[in-house]
């Protein structure tokens, strides 16, 4: 069977525009367009950044702003490869136990001080203490300053995937001045090395950043490349306005009070698709829509029952409704076209909506009408919408599915309990982007798997994945991981959803990415 990959037709034209723009961006700043320096651009997002201390939060609302102010030694390129940003490069010893990072020279912090290896060591030592994903430095035994522009990592054991996890933007290991290294979480002076620097944060109102005129661009590149590359700040100031109500966000965009809406409601996008004043940007794929089952309680402790759930679901209907039309069908636990895409494995179980087979499996499982409680929340709208469709489809095959909709903190609290729920709808945003390690880490030990009871075989495969020396080895392991996912049916892949963004027509150079990149963007007219 061919891989199930299908995209909604409504925004195909926009996709083409996005891909073309993306290609242009990846190859460097579009030469044909005359960039304009100056101006004030307003971006809208729905919630406050929990913190502007980039190390301590993995929140998207923070990342949107922070990645314009801070930089890391290594980060992901446009095609999700680790590339040096503040580092000149890295030399890894043959035994994989030593990483020597050479730093770029002449890089200035926003306070005018030059970045040296002392700052790098101090920043990463702080990250070990306050970093929201501090465990990514667990493989590092010691960080040693081996020169004014050189730091050496001494590793606990060879970790072939270390550079990938170290480059993760989830809660980025940003470099800050050594003077800030002792600061408690959230108490730094918010100084980084990025093209924009912090001006003010008024909670529930806005965050303002301004161009850092002494920014040291990475001249090794011709243009932007993912989180790195050659960055040029054209705008004088960027204001991130916090507008929680989606309708008010769209109204502000239509009135010309703001320039970019970070998350555009799909009905509004459809309405404005032909507007000459508005440009739509389809950020696809953005997240996995997933459904996790609790293996600790009946009836989901029975693999036959879980298989019945898998074959009963019509993914297209769930995705169409939960994403409001911006989705692609994908059975894989990686995005198509990425290095670890595992092909057809598992596709035979995907998007079947097969009532007869589901009922046979339920009979085999000895299902006797026990309650199947779906935990969900309205805070992330896709969660609640997916749960409604899933419940309807499961009721259709004779499963007694009920929805338990609570707010997000309550849902997180309940899902950590071993009992009291059977299924949990979850949008996985940054994890799939980070690659197979980031995704599978949430489904295996030593973390608590989303499906509660660890699967020893999957755990072993995960260990094999992170210790695989070559890419080919890791790809082969990941294929077996995907096969295992379709044997245990513990977490169900529903599909890939996109993120619709919109901007005023005078915004130039904006390329949708994992955060709204404000460098290499300018205002025309």
């Amino acid at each position: 069977m061919r891989p199930q990959l299908q995209q909604s037709g409504l925004f195909r034209a926009i996709t083409v525009a996005s891909v073309l723009a993306l290609s242009a961006g990846a190859l460097g700043a579009p030469a044909a367009l005359a960039q304009v320096q100056g101006g004030e651009l307003v971006v809208v997002q729905g919630s406050n950044p929990p913190s502007l201390d980039a190390m301590v939060t993995s929140s998207q609302a923070s990342r949107n702003i922070n990645m314009n102010m801070y930089e890391t030694l290594y980060g992901f390129s446009e095609d999700v490869r680790p590339i040096p940003i503040l580092a000149e490069g890295v030399e890894i010893s043959d035994d994989g136990l030593t990483y020597v990072f050479t730093l770029r020279q002449g890089v200035l912090f926003h306070n005018g001080k030059e970045m040296t290896s002392e700052d790098v060591k101090a920043s990463l030592e702080r990250y070990r203490v306050v970093g929201a994903t501090a465990n990514k430095l667990d493989p590092v035994r010691e960080i040693e300053v081996t020169g004014p522009y050189e730091v050496t990592f001494h590793m606990v054991a060879p970790t072939p995937t270390f550079l990938e996890s170290f480059s993760s933007p989830r809660a980025p290991a940003v470099i800050i001045p050594a003077e800030d290294a002792e600061a408690e979480a959230g108490r730094t002076s918010l100084i980084g090395t990025g093209p924009y620097r912090f001006v003010e944060f008024v909670p529930d109102s806005h965050v303002t950043i301004e161009r850092f005129d002494d920014y040291t661009a990475d001249t090794r590149h011709d243009g932007v490349d993912g989180f790195g590359g050659r960055k040029t700040a054209y705008l004088d100031r960027v204001i991130f306005r916090i507008i929680p109500e989606p309708g008010a966000q769209v109204a502000a965009l239509e009135a010309g009070e703001v320039h970019i809406v970070e998350q555009m409601p799909m009905p509004a996008a459809r309405r404005l698709a032909d507007s000459p004043d508005i440009t739509l940007y389809e950020n696809m794929p953005w997240a996995f829509t997933t459904f996790h089952l609790n293996l600790n309680v009946p009836p989901t402790d029975n693999v036959k029952f879980r298989e019945a759930v898998q074959v009963a679901l019509d993914m297209e209907a769930i995705m169409a409704i939960s994403s409001e039309g911006l989705y692609q069908l994908n059975h894989g636990w990686q995005y198509p076209g990425t290095a670890y895409w595992a092909g057809d494995i598992g596709a035979e179980y995907y998007n079947l909506g097969d009532v007869d087979r589901a009922q046979e499996l339920l009979a085999e499982a000895g299902y006797d009408g026990e309650t199947f409680s779906i935990l969900t929340d309205p805070n992330i709208p896709q969660h609640g919408r997916a749960a409604v469709v899933i419940a309807e489809q499961l009721n259709g095959v004779g499963i007694n599915a009920v929805i338990n909709q609570v707010d997000w903190p309550t849902a997180l609290s309940i899902r950590l309990q071993d009992e009291g729920w059977n299924g949990w709808t979850l949008q996985m945003g940054i994890e799939p982007y980070l690659g197979p390690v980031g995704t599978i880490a949430t489904l295996t030990s030593p973390a608590r798997p989303h499906f509660v009871v660890p699967d020893p075989e999957l755990d072993a495969l995960y260990q094999e994945l992170i210790s695989g020396v070559t890419l080919e080895e890791r790809q082969e392991t990941f294929s077996r991981i995907q096969a295992r996912m379709y044997e245990i049916f513990a977490s169900i892949k529903i599909g890939d959803s996109g993120l619709m963004q919109a901007g005023r027509a005078n915004v130039q150079g904006f390329i949708p990415f994992r955060f709204p990149r404000m460098h290499d963007v300018w205002l025309e007219g």
């Binding site: 109204a251 609290s413 950590l416």
Partner: protein, 315 residues
């Protein structure tokens, strides 16, 4: 009057104590806490326990309550987990936004409501009466969040007369402040205007039927003097009561309006804190809001005394 005021202020203490205690108990009953927000969906139970211990959330409720009250007596409302700043600072910084919104809305609702109510009473059983009451009913029936969005689309997007949202501090730009507050205040005022209009009409009808009004008219007194000096002043007690109640409603209604118009007020602060379980902000924010309510009630009592000498003479 000083004795009256002192008695009222003293009676506020148990009210505020009960409010804070109930807040504590409710927060204890609600599932989930700030650790979920800090740690994210991938956290293990051990991660959450570590964060809980760091924030002191693993201590028994009574111990946390005692510590909070001890801090309160020192004038310390606590420290926000998420905002990383003192609660009093965060709440007081936003109080002017909420108070100016509720204050403007109160003035508009009272002025418009009383005008409609007086007109309806004076022109009792005429088209004017019916028109005024239909207007009041429409105001009462329209959900404020819907009306707010309609106002944004009409006056912000289509006509471009007012900003679609956001707040401009009064000290920074008075005209900008007025423009930023106009639509939210009108939206908030509309819903409560109807209540005041109906109460004013009813109170005025009652008063205008009294013997002393008939006597005043018989003496040949000007109609406006009869209506405003003799009629309205004597109808003010129930109107002031309703205005007092409405002040509380406007403060709570400001939560929705602040969200629709992206105003950084106390309502949004508390809602955000509830969604994330930032307990210190919820406790401190609700206590300060309760203080405002109590203050408004005292003000209403003082107005009673001012309008009706019998009230102050009874004390």
């Amino acid at each position: 009057m000083i004795g009256f005021l002192s008695r009222r202020l003293l009676s506020a203490i148990p009210v505020l104590f009960v409010v804070s205690l109930v807040t504590f108990l409710i927060l204890w009953l609600v599932p989930g806490d700030i650790t979920a927000e800090i740690a994210g969906p991938d956290a293990t139970a051990e991660d959450l326990a570590a964060i809980r211990a760091r924030l002191g959330l693993d201590r028994p409720l009574w111990e946390r309550a005692l510590a909070w009250y001890a801090d309160l007596f020192r004038g310390d409302l606590g420290y926000s987990y998420l905002l990383n700043r003192p609660v009093s600072e965060a709440v007081l910084e936003r109080l002017p936004v909420t108070l100016s919104l509720a204050g403007l809305a109160l003035v508009m609702a009272t002025a418009m409501g009383m005008l409609l109510g007086i007109l309806a009473a004076v022109r009792h059983n005429t088209l004017v009466d019916q028109g005024a009451m239909v207007t009041a009913l429409i105001g009462l029936s329209i959900p404020d969040f819907w009306f707010g969005i309609v106002m944004i689309i009409l006056f912000g997007v289509w006509l471009g007369w007012f900003p679609t949202g956001g707040f401009v501090p009064l000290a920074e730009d008075p005209v900008g402040w007025a423009r930023s507050m106009a639509l939210p205040a009108i939206t908030l005022a509309l819903t409560q205007m109807g209540v005041i209009a109906r109460m004013t009409r009813s109170a005025m009808l009652d008063v205008l039927g009294q013997d002393y009004i008939r006597t005043a008219r018989a003496k040949g007194m000007k109609r406006s003097t009869v209506v405003f000096r003799h009629g309205l002043r004597n109808a003010m007690i129930p109107i002031v009561t309703v205005v007092g109640v409405i002040t509380g409603v406007l403060l709570s209604g400001a939560v929705v309006i602040e969200t629709v118009f992206s105003l950084p007020g106390v309502g949004r602060l508390i809602i955000g804190a509830i969604q994330r379980r930032d307990f210190p902000i919820i406790q401190g924010g609700l206590l300060i809001t309760a203080c405002v309510f109590v203050f408004v009630n005292i003000l209403v009592d003082m107005l009673y005394a001012w309008f009706d000498p019998r009230v102050r003479n009874d004390r």
